[in-house]
């Protein structure tokens, strides 16, 4: 590893963060969009390069300011972080390239530079969470990304976004503060903030009660941020009323980054050091995951607003990821982690397509999208493809994760059959809600004054890029699977 390569973990965060300050100075709004997209693409390139380095060999570590690890702030990129980095920067880049027309339609011209600046800050914050190996640093990046996403969500023209974002702000801050309390309690007992160092030192702590309290605070706080059922109430409205492109970006990665921290903390720090924590983790999260899968899918079946429908489907998908993790086996974790990637592909493509629909429709409800399939055949085709991936039809990315999840559940023996049933029922419910959209779009009565809107070619291209990646990673799932397997092995490697 030479030259620039070793600084990539720091650049992953620094590039979008520094750029976000300068985007505000670019006044013709086309320029701001171009610069933001270029910076996001550069972050994507850094993430790809990091992934190649990680798959080639050992995890990368970076000591900020050359201070050695337990004293200074360390950055670390392993397979799990690399996968998340790909999702974050990829979703941001694809959404931004296609976003121009949709953002012009939804956000006043004079406010766009701030919007783009907040977008880059969100990218920097999310990437920062993923590369940090320091508990307090994760908190700071978590707040940077959250504050930026509050701004992004509130930026839309729909005034209902404001109460939604207020609720998100309250619940997000409570979640982050719970996390902070937990980190404080651990610091009190161990005197360190570095995750690897924490793992070693907790073993020597004689009184485990504060650590146990810390585990509770951290798990609940992060579950709140990750919208794990039943802590998901902020999510549907925030996703529904946010600008469409913001939804496409955040739905793909925001909650998953919190899940990443949850997994990392629980497996690296707590599981091997707390008596019975492995059991508690599974017994606490598995019922929530199952309820989330069933309730999220069921509510989605009866929802009238398309964005809200997909938001509830996201609650169910988070359930799948948690279910995989709570199995506490290599196969289960692999399935959960690979679903982080595959769900981002499917949901990102679906929300991008909804953004395109919104250019023509007055609102995104079943009554108003009639005839959209004829007006936008290409966009609609991509929407159906991504929908199939969400359902988990063989040949799509969604199938890969569900297949592995079912395989992992079967390892449990007879009780696993119940889990398989849950997964199948939820997939059937996904068929229902995706079919309802298809039905309304194809056969619904078109409004008389249907506007003749052409979807901008860039947006159609990006929707297709997103849809086709669903097929590509459905047929050749080696890259995400390999990263997930490695990540699962490294997570389990920390459990006794």
């Amino acid at each position: 590893m030479t030259g620039l390569d070793q600084h990539l973990p720091a650049l992953q965060v620094a590039v979008p963060m520094v750029a976000s300050a300068f985007v505000v100075l670019l006044n013709p709004k086309g320029l701001a969009w171009a610069a933001t997209t270029a910076v996001s693409a550069m972050s994507f390139a850094i993430a790809i390069q990091l992934t190649m380095l990680v798959t080639a060999g050992t995890p990368l570590t970076y000591a900020m300011g050359s201070w050695p690890a337990p004293f200074g702030i360390a950055l670390e990129v392993d397979s799990l972080s690399a996968l998340l980095l790909l999702v974050i920067t990829g979703a941001s880049t694809i959404a931004l390239i296609g976003a121009r027309a949709s953002i012009d339609a939804q956000i006043a011209a004079d406010r766009q530079i701030y919007f783009y600046s907040a977008w880059l800050l969100a990218v920097a914050g999310l990437a920062g969470i993923v590369v940090s190996a320091d508990a307090f640093n994760i908190f700071v990046f978590m707040e940077i990304s959250s504050l930026a996403s509050y701004v992004l969500i509130a930026g839309g023209p729909d005034r209902r976004a404001l109460p939604a974002v207020f609720k998100y702000l309250i619940m997000g801050t409570i979640g982050a503060t719970f996390y902070l309390i937990g980190v404080g309690l651990i610091y009190m007992m161990t005197g360190t903030l570095n995750l690897a160092d924490m793992e070693l030192r907790i073993a020597g702590v004689s009184d485990q009660r504060p650590i146990l309290a810390a585990a509770g605070f951290i798990t609940v706080g992060l579950a709140l941020k990750a919208a794990v059922f039943p802590l998901h109430i902020w999510l549907p409205n925030a996703y529904t009323y946010a600008p469409h492109m913001v939804t496409a970006f955040l739905a793909a990665c925001a909650t998953k980054v919190s899940l990443y921290v949850l997994l990392r903390f629980d497996f690296f720090v707590f599981q091997q050091n707390l008596d019975g924590h492995t059991f508690q983790f599974a017994a606490y999260l598995m019922p929530l995951a199952i309820l989330g899968i069933l309730v999220g899918s069921a509510v989605a079946m009866f929802e009238g607003n398309l964005k809200r429908l997909l938001a509830f489907s996201s609650v169910a998908q988070i359930g799948y990821i948690m279910l995989g993790a709570s199995l506490l086996s290599a196969a289960g974790l692999t399935a959960g982690i690979v679903h982080i990637f595959n769900h981002a592909l499917a949901k990102g493509a679906l929300f991008l397509a909804l953004g395109a629909f919104a250019l023509a429709c007055t609102s995104l409800r079943f009554e108003t999208i009639g005839g959209i399939a004829r007006a936008m055949p290409w966009t609609f085709g991509a929407f159906v493809l991504a929908g199939l991936s969400l359902i988990g039809v063989p040949g799509t990315a969604g199938f890969i994760s569900k297949w592995h999840l079912i395989g992992a559940a079967m390892e449990l023996g007879p009780p696993g059959l119940a889990l398989v049933a849950v997964i199948l029922i939820s997939s059937l419910m996904a068929v229902v809600y995706i079919w309802r959209i298809v039905e309304a779009a194809c056969f619904g009565a078109a409004p008389a004054d249907f506007p003749d809107v052409r979807v901008p070619p860039l947006l159609v291209t990006m929707i297709w890029v997103a849809a086709i990646t669903n097929i590509v990673f459905g047929l050749v799932p080696d890259l995400p699977l390999e990263l997930s397997r490695d990540a699962a092995a490294s997570l389990l490697g920390h459990v006794k």
Binding site: V140, E143, A154, R160, T173, T177, L180, I181, G184
Partner: protein, 118 residues
């Protein structure tokens, strides 16, 4: 008084719960934000408390003959960052409340829900 042995931690817990109560129970959005601030302030106290050593002073370089006990400065540095984060959150929250007032002409949560339902 063994019961209140480490009373700092009781202050932390009580303040935390007062803030949390305000966030959950109050319908006025400004009061919710006040609750949120209290909630965060309680955590600041937790951090400051844990770094304090009885009779400890500021950790400033000293000669070999001095034998001062130091308080741990790291939690204070951390909490400086957390205070900045808390202020940014509060500022953004108040900004959102201003926008809500402009759009809905009320800052009572139940009234906003009522307006949205119509």
């Amino acid at each position: 008084m063994e019961f209140l042995g480490l009373y700092h931690y009781w202050v932390f817990a009580v303040l935390l719960m007062i803030g949390f109560y305000a966030v959950v129970a109050k319908l006025n959005l400004i009061k919710k934000l006040i609750g949120l601030s209290l909630f965060q302030a309680a955590v600041f106290l937790l951090y400051i408390t844990m770094g304090k050593v009885d009779g400890g002073t500021a950790p400033i370089f000293q000669t070999a003959s001095q034998t001062n006990v130091f308080s741990n400065p790291l939690p204070q540095v951390l909490i400086l960052t957390a205070i900045v984060v808390g202020i940014s959150t509060l500022a953004l929250g108040l900004g959102i409340v201003v926008r809500i007032k402009e759009e809905y002409d009320t800052i009572e949560e139940h009234e906003i829900q009522e307006i949205d339902r119509r």
